[in-house]
Symmetry: D2
């Protein structure tokens, strides 16, 4: 897998074109030159580069996991009553469409308005129960106990005004279910969930294999939900650059401002890896849109070299 490592080495220096997210100290302090990659295929073969056991927070990547979990719990139809699956050209934290659109339903679960709505659907009678379900869902997929980064979580709470505005607007539109502050707290916690590249790639592998772990045959979510999640990642997963990523990389992916990107592919042959694969990349330097600079570059490279585009 020297070729994959060569591509990693080629992309790592590009971190200088971005910088670590600044709104949260715990993110801003990350070394921007870090670049970790972990890829795992359906046969259990894997490629690693960098410290794939160093943890980072999911941030917006949690949106797609939370959406999957809630759909599996409530049924897709029920969830789609609260959130649509249409891309927008707006910023992830835009509130305008909630006012301009008749029903005020968020356009998709990967923008903040949609993700907070989904967080309000987390099941459980108590706040603890609601999150325990999501934590367990992730833990079972990764084989590692789910933890949150307390420092990041506290920072999210402190910088929450815009998200709180969105949440109360959703409540006034009768889209958000239950208590606003509980939904927000769920949302901040899920954003603060910590994983390493190995765990994230494993989640990708299960998604790539339509909800079933190909290594254990364990079922996590339905094929139907997997397809919805993949379509959402392709059309809305990379913030305002989703269209360009679909066009020039062409694989379902979701990024977070921590610098992590979760993506999936299905190569015929990629340096010994083949079939369904999950890909986790982590490079804290993000561009002005919010996507990891090195991750984008690397995913573009491997998409071209191994013909990963679904188009």
């Amino acid at each position: 897998m020297e070729e994959l490592q060569r591509l990693v080495d080629l992309c790592r220096p590009l971190y200088t074109r971005g910088q670590a997210a600044s709104y949260i100290p715990a993110l801003a302090d990350k070394d921007p030159s870090l670049f970790f990659v972990h890829i795992i295929d359906e046969h259990g073969k894997s490629f690693s580069s960098g410290d794939v056991t160093e943890k980072f927070t999911l941030q917006s990547i949690s949106k797609v996991i939370s959406f999957i979990y809630v759909c599996e719990e409530h049924g897709l139809d029920e969830v789609l009553k609260h959130v649509d699956v249409e891309p927008t050209g707006d910023s992830f934290n835009s509130i305008i469409r909630l006012e301009n659109t008749y029903l005020g339903k968020p356009f998709n679960p990967l923008i903040n308005a949609g993700a907070i709505t989904v967080s309000s659907l987390l099941v459980g009678n108590t706040k603890e129960q609601q999150l325990v379900g999501l934590y367990n869902f992730i833990s079972k997929m990764t084989g590692v106990e789910t933890t949150i980064n307390e420092e990041v979580y506290q920072s999210e709470i402190v910088t929450a005004d815009r998200n709180r505005a969105i949440a109360y607007y959703l409540k006034s539109n009768e889209v958000l279910v239950g208590d606003v502050e509980v939904a927000l707290d769920n949302y901040f916690r899920q954003c603060s969930i910590e994983v390493d590249a190995r765990c994230l790639a494993k989640i990708g592998l299960i998604l790539s294999n339509d909800g079933v772990d190909p290594l254990t045959n364990e079922y996590f979510f339905s094929k139907k939900i997997a397809k919805v999640a993949k379509a959402l990642m392709l059309t809305c997963g990379m913030y305002n650059a989703s269209g360009k990523f679909a066009t020039f990389v062409g694989i379902p992916a979701k990024s977070g401002v921590s610098g992590a990107v979760l993506s999936i592919a299905n190569p015929e042959s990629m340096e010994g890896l083949s079939g369904k694969i999950g890909i986790a990349t982590f490079g804290p330097a993000i561009d002005e849109i919010g996507n990891s600079v090195t991750s984008i570059a690397f995913l573009k490279k491997i998409s071209e070299q191994y013909d990963l585009s679904i188009f």
Copy 2:
């Protein structure tokens, strides 16, 4: 003053074209056929029709009073750092411009975004102190102790999601000063302040006389602030119908969804009244824009008959 009473009688039946505000039970339960009018001139002469001692809540009329009070406390220049004085064509509860406009400063203090910003500027180390100042300001003008309608206040809190969204958005834009929940609580309380038509007309008289009570020569606020308040009332005081009211009535006015309207004029002669006058009207049936149907009709009639338009 039979002619004024004739005009009242002419306009009262028009209440059937509107209906009482429905979002708060305490407002919805008002008899829509009520119509109270009190006018007082700088010589102390007055005209009354209906029960001018029955109380109603200020609602949005409080926005202009709170603005005046805060300007008098902080100075106009300081307040205008937080809120502009430009009309918009948007709904009173619109949030869009906070996102679309570079600085995110509310366009004027008579839309909710601006009024909540102003509420955040109420002075005092404690919440109680903040409101005591405003209450005292009003009490001194009216000669009556200021009270709030507890039922309306509790209802405002319950239906507060949209305003809370606006407030947190303002906070994220660093426009709103201090604690968001305190500013909102101030705002809900000021909206719930109760006055009767006599008191409201008295406030109008002082505003009409540029901040000084013409009957006692007591000073309340500066002429400069009075002029700003009047200009704001003319350009933005009647919600989305402000332009039409300026055009066809032509006097500074501010309405509230309770059905009250505060306005001022300066007639040469109006059935024995003359000079600076304050006008309070109250008719709970409001049109779809939020303005009292009977009040609008009556103000238009007297403007035409006694040449009240400032244009």
Copy 3:
């Protein structure tokens, strides 16, 4: 009238804070340090400073004159079917509300969308007849034959894409009457009408006196239309700074990007002038909003000194 001249001299140096409009060569070439003022009162007394016989184009000032003319021809009610009288917080050349608002009717006749709609209502079977009516209307008021600046007119045509977009959008909304290109040509011609400060002040005097020339008693338009025009000028006449102008100057005014401003007032006594007055100022250096820097400063000065504000 030395004091008025002193205020002119005080304001003239402020031209350095703005610059001449750049989108049209004929405007860009104007000496930005020019500053002409002409004021005429209802008794025929006047104040002049600078070359009050040098011509400049009306630009957006034509919007209010054309609106008055069309209202007088068609009746106010008919015109208001096509254009509302509500202020907006948008740029003069914004198209967004035509899409966001249900009916797509322009909010007022002083933004481009509204002015082009009004231009489409100019009466006459032929394009020539349509404009002859407006030209004659102006000529009779000023006592001077109305001419257009051919160079400016040609430049307007060349830089017309945004206005053409607005006009076709209005047509698709079925607001604009008749042929789009004819309406646009009318609009460009009326913007290119040339007047000098004396003529412009005369128009102001007639408007100030509610449509009747106080010097000749000649009737031009109804008092009702005059009041609508004045209200529009106050609420929407100074582009996106209309609210601030209403607040801090407080007189009906309309500016054009040529650097001209038409305004009216009613001083008790102003250095020998009194009663209804028309004010024309011309200083080509405009601020980023489009208003003449020196004109704004001068109008603010005289408003404060002679208590001109209508509030």
Copy 4:
């Protein structure tokens, strides 16, 4: 292929849920119960149902073909200077983003603003040459001379005001190249191009095979351009329902208000068809978003039955 015919029969009655486009007589007069399907695979095998030689106009389907053609002529990089590849949540004929977005570049070539921009890039010194190139490009793919429906073309011109507004706005933003009216005329002509289902499916087959006709090995456009086109179709091809189509059908597709849909897939086995396929469906009854009701239903059915989704 009885099963495919069974699915056609199942979906045809659903036409009652939509109605033929009403804005153009030539479209409104179509029998809404028509439903034609033609599918052709890379081996030349095909399935037909209904009159697959009856012609219909491309309407918005032309947008993707024109985009491909222009990219092949100018190079992808050059075209992307004028139009982005990001989805929006807006209507196809929205103008708002041209004002709200800094650069004013259309978000993608499948909304009207983007398509008209692309039409302005059609090469050729004369209008005739510009379109001859596109016509020839299509003729060579279909093997049939390209014609336009003159009645539809004339109707497009008559109902062109909104598109003309968009085009002039683009011109004022300096996005649209060359003469606005020429670009518009190109656009109306390309919308009026007539094909039958066989021809449309053939175009789909070539796109599906990345720009090369698999039956003749003739080259039409590059694989890179094909991938961009497919990504655009998936993210933006089905108007405001593109996200839902991606989610629940999951194949690149482009619809037109004539009721035609062009789509592509790559089934392992579909009643004897296999490998790259082009799919043309035509059912004039469209839903409120603009997509053929019967086409959508049929494509969803075959996607589920033959696992066509790319996700």
